[in-house]
Symmetry: C2
Subunit: 407 residues, 2 copies
């Protein structure tokens, strides 16, 4: 597997476009389109929030209907959540605008939204945006990068990644883009992510691979514990690489899953590190827990704790907060089994040993905590369950961004 | 029932003391003692965190042993959590110092701690503090107030309340004190609270009343979603009011529960409003949910959401965030059943009506959101379950306090 430049347009047959639709922002792009010249097998994971945005309901229908998927239209101004029948009609109008412009059946068009909840979308601006983008679709790397910028809200950097690998002697490409960066908490997938590949794979296997990988990657990140109404991840596979179609869980399937995992983990970590107001990536690795489920629960509790996040921001090696978060996570363990470490590129420091706090070198602790990526590492010594979760620190800027997001 | 001045010394036969023990803070009191001249029937609720502070383990033993309780010693410098066998020995040493000074059997002494996790207590300072306080016990109102100040950490105001009521023709008094104000999230009870009463009541009924009331009061507040290792609530009842002992769930029991509920709710709301960095009280009332459990889940999700809390701080009537939090709470509902309102002393404003957002007067919204106490009110129209939860806004000061708490 080789990491290459680009994102959603890296794979054969995919094009993208973006435009200024003036839905919420001025003087920046706020709509994007991803298009495949051949209809795609697709898979998706969606928010577990019972209040689902209209576009999430629309896309769930597209994915579960067994139909193919050929285009996705995204806007980053208004979430189209809590908008009733009018909101659902806006999804249909958007899809039908794609049908008119590109002769793609509207049932094969997905839509995604992110932004303010409880506001109606301006349908004319949306359909005008679709028209504009349909005329400027390009398969260049830049077009994909521009699309990844158009879907940003409070993100400070765009997020894309692509890899190539080989299946049945053919070069296959998988790329993707995603956006954060608030209302992010693992539960299905997190916010918007779009992956494209020219691999040939059966729909059911694509969905199985996607669900499994999302559980270990996007579902293991948290910014603020708030699971959005709009979380959507879509994977489109158009088969243009010409590899023998993956129809069972063979070696090719494993190779594909490995690439999918790399792309999802890379995008997930980028989202965590760019969480609203974040100044650093905060990683928790839990090893030797009673089960993998316990390890996940513990790791997510550590990176999800406001007090832990504030300590990471303050570069304070206050390990009691991390242990406390593990204690209320729901996983049952004996603190006298546990070892705790802080890790970064600056080194490793043990702070807790089987129930007893250790005296440690405060200067070394500070140097580790000041790194741009800090890991809390817990060895539970109670089994063989391992997991990693990713989050970010809690900063003044998080409060600032969210005290005044709507206006 | 009548609200009177005072706290833990209001009831007959109770005295309190406090002192500067220099455990962590300088130039302020950081130890307190509550003492009853007669041994007390007692009840308690404790943190559900699996990492329990040594003092929590000690007190659980005192309460469950069926022994009487005569004194509680509290320090507000070091939590005595994650401290292994040495931490538990510190509890015993403290209790034995009380036995020496006041001839109270050490098994009838409770201990409580709050502060930094993962540090050992200085036992000599603790026992010296016990000695000092044993000589200065007083049943004055002021002594109780001073004790409520000595147990503060990042609290900005002390918290106490007392009421009198009548049982079997006798005047009975119930008072209490508590402290917040971070690492606060409903799960058993929250941080430290000590209640004293001269009512005569059987131990098992006292525990039942306490557990039921805590579930609706202390367990319905949240500051930051972090359930502490040290949460402890203790109720001491010495029987000196001379009322006929409450031995069944009769009218006297109900009167006592009503007083207990008032005292607990008052302390809980004071803790929520004084949450770390808080600028206002944030209340969520959910009515007509499918069940009381659902109503509680929904109300707690609303006041627990970082995004909701930041919107309350920013006076932003961004109702989508509250609806989103309800959606991921775990309670299942249909958004087309829901009505949402903002309320304060400034009035009531409906913002969402059975699945559809309402256009509303932004000026009126701002005036409501700028109040010192703001309520989000949700009518689910799906059953008869009602609940209220209390929290506070998320502010720059929360981050400031916690980025740098240990040093």
């Amino acid at each position: 597997m080789k990491v290459i430049a680009g994102g959603v347009t890296a794979a054969e047959g995919f094009a993208a476009a973006s435009c200024e639709a003036n839905i919420k922002y001025k003087n920046r792009t706020d709509m994007a389109m991803v298009y495949s010249k051949e209809p795609c097998v697709c898979a998706g994971t969606f928010t577990s929030n019972v209040v689902k945005a209209a576009c999430v309901k629309w896309d769930m229908q597209v994915v579960s209907s067994g139909k193919l998927l050929q285009a996705v239209v995204i806007n980053s101004g208004i979430a189209n959540a809590a908008t009733g029948a009018e909101g659902f009609a806006a999804c249909e109008a958007t899809a039908k605008a794609v049908e008119t412009a590109l002769q793609v059946p509207y049932e094969q068009v997905a839509v995604a939204s992110t932004g303010v909840i409880g506001m109606q979308l301006p349908v004319e601006k949306l359909t005008a945006g679709v028209q504009k983008m349909s005329n400027t679709l390009s398969d260049s790397i830049e077009a994909g990068t521009d699309a990844s910028k158009a879907i940003m809200t409070t993100d400070t950097v765009n997020k894309e990644v692509a890899v190539t690998f080989e299946l049945g002697g053919k070069k296959v490409t998988l790329g993707g883009m995603s956006k954060g960066s608030g209302m992010i908490h693992p539960n299905m997938c997190t916010m918007l992510a779009f992956l494209t590949t020219d691999a040939a794979i059966e729909k059911q296997l694509l969905q199985e691979a996607t669900s499994a990988v999302v559980a270990d990657t996007f579902n293991m990140i948290t910014v603020d514990g708030d699971t959005s109404t709009n979380d959507t991840l879509l994977v489109m596979a158009n088969g243009l690489a010409g590899n023998p179609v993956i129809t069972e869980k063979d070696k090719d399937y494993e190779t594909f899953v490995e690439a999918l995992r790399y792309v999802c983990e890379t995008l997930a970590k980028k989202m965590a590190a760019d969480g609203e107001g974040a100044s650093k990536l905060f990683e928790a690795t839990v090893v030797n827990a009673k089960s993998k489920e316990d390890a996940k629960t513990l790791a997510r509790a550590i990176v999800g704790s406001n007090l832990s996040k504030a300590a990471i921001f303050g570069c304070d090696a206050n390990f009691g907060r991390f242990l406390c978060a593990m204690g209320y996570s729901g996983a049952v363990f004996d603190e006298t089994d546990v070892e705790l470490f802080f890790k970064s590129e600056k080194g490793t420091l043990q702070v807790f040993d089987h129930g007893t706090p250790l005296a440690f070198d405060e200067e070394k602790a500070l140097s580790i905590m000041q790194s741009s990526a800090v890991t809390v590492y817990a060895d539970m010594h109670e089994g063989d369950g391992n997991a990693t979760a990713w989050g970010c620190d809690l900063t003044y800027d998080y409060v600032k961004i969210n005290a005044d997001y709507r206006s």
